[in-house]
């Protein structure tokens, strides 16, 4: 709460028009970039990954950060969304004739995932903590096993040749939609209910919060967007298989959530961007390009002995960086804090009604 007190920053955070403005510019760019090839396709692809990862991270944060559970099922929901959407576009919907039906497929993927979210939501009424973590893990394994055993959807071979329907504007749209909806959820009575469950479930129930309903909604919203992300992912990669959605995928999303910070939308965005971009930047050739301004005497040996081998070492450096970040910010970089841009004005005002002008801080835990 005290890291960002400089006046310039304060001023910036207080400008409510910036976010809508960024949104507009973002949409413009999302259309313009692929249209006019403003950035090369590799950068475009990475941008789409970033978007999908933001969707995953923000939605997982709802359960793992705001609600304080430790769900490992996210990749499972993603798989459900991916397979549902891919089957629709490949086998059911006449996508070839009407590419405009793609959003329907994505929506269906999300809804299917939300439906299966029940499998996790219902035990969560009774089971908490690490015991619930096991249930989510089991869910993930079950999803994987079921997909592997259905030959109609490719079994372990997966579904190749999915039409590439995911585009930068679509990714941008869904990313914004996710952020918007999750943010709305968080700043509603249900969102506060989720927070209170994290803090003290019994007290929450005794303060009139319908904890079942709240958990139910939180799991549904979370798994819905995981499904959406899966659907987009399938139509970007053009190939899915059960392996794509294994525990490693969940681990990636977990890292992004906790790196960015629990119970923070801005944190999740930050975490997803950092993690995804860093993994790409640390590619040997990218890294070499980044430091190519170094004089040859330094660059050449550096490149020869270190950068060229970064291929393996980047996976050593990444977790180290994660550990360091966690030691420094135990709740993640933006843990329990929020850029004020994301906080509804009403909430901001309510907390600062009697605080003298300017003596503010970032809203705690996003309120």
């Amino acid at each position: 709460m005290n890291t960002m007190r400089n006046p310039g920053w304060e001023w910036l955070m207080a400008q409510r028009w910036i976010l809508p403005a960024l949104l507009l510019i973002g949409f413009g760019l999302a259309f313009a970039i692929p249209e006019y090839n403003l950035l090369n396709k590799y950068v475009q692809l990475v941008m789409m990954y970033v978007g999908i990862n933001i969707i995953l991270t923000v939605s997982l944060n709802l359960v793992n950060g705001y609600m304080g559970e430790f769900s490992l099922a996210h990749a499972g929901f993603m798989a459900v969304g991916a397979y549902t959407a891919a089957l629709l576009t490949q086998k059911v919907l006449p996508i070839a004739d009407y590419p405009g039906l793609f959003p329907l497929a994505v929506l269906a993927g999300g809804l299917m995932a939300a439906l299966l979210g029940l499998i996790v939501a219902i035990p969560s009424f009774k089971v908490r903590g690490d015991y619930l973590a096991i249930i989510t893990l089991a869910f993930l394994m079950i999803v994987k096993s079921v997909i592997e055993n259905i030959d109609y959807i490719g079994g372990p071979r997966g579904i190749p040749g999915i039409k590439k329907l995911t585009t930068l504007p679509w990714v941008f749209f869904w990313t914004v939609a996710t952020i918007w909806v999750v943010r709305n959820f968080v700043y509603s009575k249900y969102g506060r209910g989720v927070l209170s469950i994290r803090e003290d479930e019994i007290a929450s129930d005794l303060m009139s919060v319908n904890t079942r309903r709240v958990k139910f909604l939180a799991f549904m919203v979370s798994s819905f967007f995981a499904g959406v992300a899966g659907a987009l992912f399938a139509h970007l990669l053009q190939f899915i298989s059960p392996r794509v959605f294994d525990i490693i995928k969940t681990t990636d999303v977990l890292i992004m959530v906790y790196l960015g910070g629990i119970a923070s939308i801005s944190g999740s965005i930050l975490g997803a961007v950092l993690y995804t971009v860093l993994l790409e930047v640390l590619r040997p050739s990218n890294f070499a390009a980044l430091v190519s301004w170094l004089p040859d005497v330094i660059f050449d040996p550096l490149n020869q002995y270190f950068i060229r081998h970064l291929g393996v070492w980047r996976m050593v450096i990444m977790p180290l960086a994660l550990v360091l970040v966690m030691l420094y910010w135990p709740r993640g970089i933006m843990g329990l804090r929020e850029f004020r841009w994301f906080v509804p004005k009403r909430d901001l005002d309510a907390h600062h009604r009697h605080v003298a002008h300017g003596g503010s801080h970032d809203a705690p835990h996003g309120h």
Binding site: K41, G155, G161, K164, G311, V312
Partner: protein, 364 residues
């Protein structure tokens, strides 16, 4: 500065199959070093040096696609070699196809890698250096039924792995077509180390032969555990056995078993002998089949670039698909006009005295 030819490699350096990635990178670097040592590649009138860009895909499908996209758009490579496993090769191949850049996967045996799902036709730009699953499964079924005279067979395979499952199923179909009986068709999941339940079941079914279309790091465990349970019938395997590591890991347990693969080191052409010696000198280990196939993928590429006479993606594609018979480490190969899968034959090796020995050539 002098002009260079940039070639990309996507390898599984980290993730679930790092050994495959390491072999692939090693062989790629060896191939390029040799060409450059000879002054470069003859393209048209000039000799051009080859520059290699190696990317890791971390054993992830999305990173495979990202790596492919990066190599093509950012590094502007002429062609790509890799990834090896089908589940990584497929997403990379989609990018290569839409970006009109040649991609040769050394080791992906899934038929779908080189096929366009929408049209059912082969992809234009995606090639492979190996044979495909149905071919191998057929070869092995015939070998088991006719050569080994086994009337009852059992299969144990990894149900979560596309490769294993693919071959297992082809084997089953072909074997039954020949008149054999599959008495047990058992599965496990990647990373399992204990197969006792399945093997006990297999023992109960009393097969004449057991087929293990599994990777060389799992096969020794499976064979050892089977022996411990008192199973005495022979085992056969597929090209995934074809790593010298199998012998280090499995030792004498594997003597007397057979598997199909791409080439036989002891019955190899001079190119192969030279490659094996060079590789051993450079890396202190015998090359496995991924290394050999990667080396051949580069051989194919070099040949195609040379005969194209210019460094141009489209030209490379055209000349690759019309390349006359290429004599590689893993045998002679050639692409048919309507296919991206090389015509090549398989060999059956026997494990004898802790060594791979040539047993027979096999055509389906």
């Amino acid at each position: 500065a002098e002009k260079t030819i940039k070639l990309g490699v996507i390898a599984e350096l980290t993730g679930d199959m790092p050994a495959v990635g390491a072999s692939c990178r090693n062989a790629a670097e060896l191939a390029v070093k040799e060409v450059n040592a000879a002054g470069g590649l003859q393209v048209g009138k000039e000799k051009m040096k080859v520059e290699l860009v190696v990317e890791d895909n971390a054993g992830k499908a999305d990173q495979s696609a990202a790596a492919a996209q990066k190599l093509i758009t950012q590094d502007e490579v002429v062609a790509i070699v890799g990834p090896n496993a089908s589940r990584y090769a497929i997403p990379a191949s989609e990018i290569a196809e839409s970006e009109k850049t040649v991609l040769i996967t050394p080791w992906s045996t899934n038929p779908k890698t080189t096929m366009d799902e929408k049209t059912g036709k082969p992809k234009d730009y995606v090639f492979r250096a190996c044979f495909i699953d149905p071919f191998q499964g057929g070869v092995l079924a015939k070998f088991a039924y006719q050569t080994l005279k086994a009337k009852k067979a059992a299969v144990l395979y990894d149900v979560a792995s596309d490769y294993n499952k693919g071959i297992a199923e082809v084997f089953k179909t072909n074997y039954e077509k020949l008149g054999g009986k599959i008495v047990a068709f058992e599965t496990y999941t990647t990373n399992d180390k204990d197969f006792s339940a399945q093997l006990t079941k297999i023992k109960d079914a009393k097969p004449d032969v057991i087929f293990l279309p599994n990777y060389y790091n799992e096969v020794p465990l499976q064979v050892q555990q089977a022996k411990r349970l008192g199973i005495t019938v022979p085992f056969i395997g597929s090209d995934s056995w074809g790593s010298p590591e199998l012998l280090t890991l499995g030792g004498a347990d594997l003597n007397g078993y057979y598997f199909s693969t791409h080439y036989a080191a002891d019955n190899a052409a001079p190119v192969a002998k030279k490659f094996i010696a060079d590789y051993e000198k450079a890396y202190g280990a015998k090359p496995d089949d991924v290394a050999a196939l990667t080396y051949d993928a580069f051989g194919l590429l070099f040949g195609a670039i040379k005969s194209a006479g210019k460094v141009d993606r489209e030209a490379v594609r055209v000349s690759l698909s019309t390349l006359p018979d290429y004599k590689g480490v893993t045998g002679d190969m050639k692409f048919k006009a309507d296919s991206r899968d090389p015509i090549k034959s398989a060999v059956i090796l026997e494990i004898k005295d802790g060594k791979f020995t040539y047993f027979t050539n096999a055509k389906p």
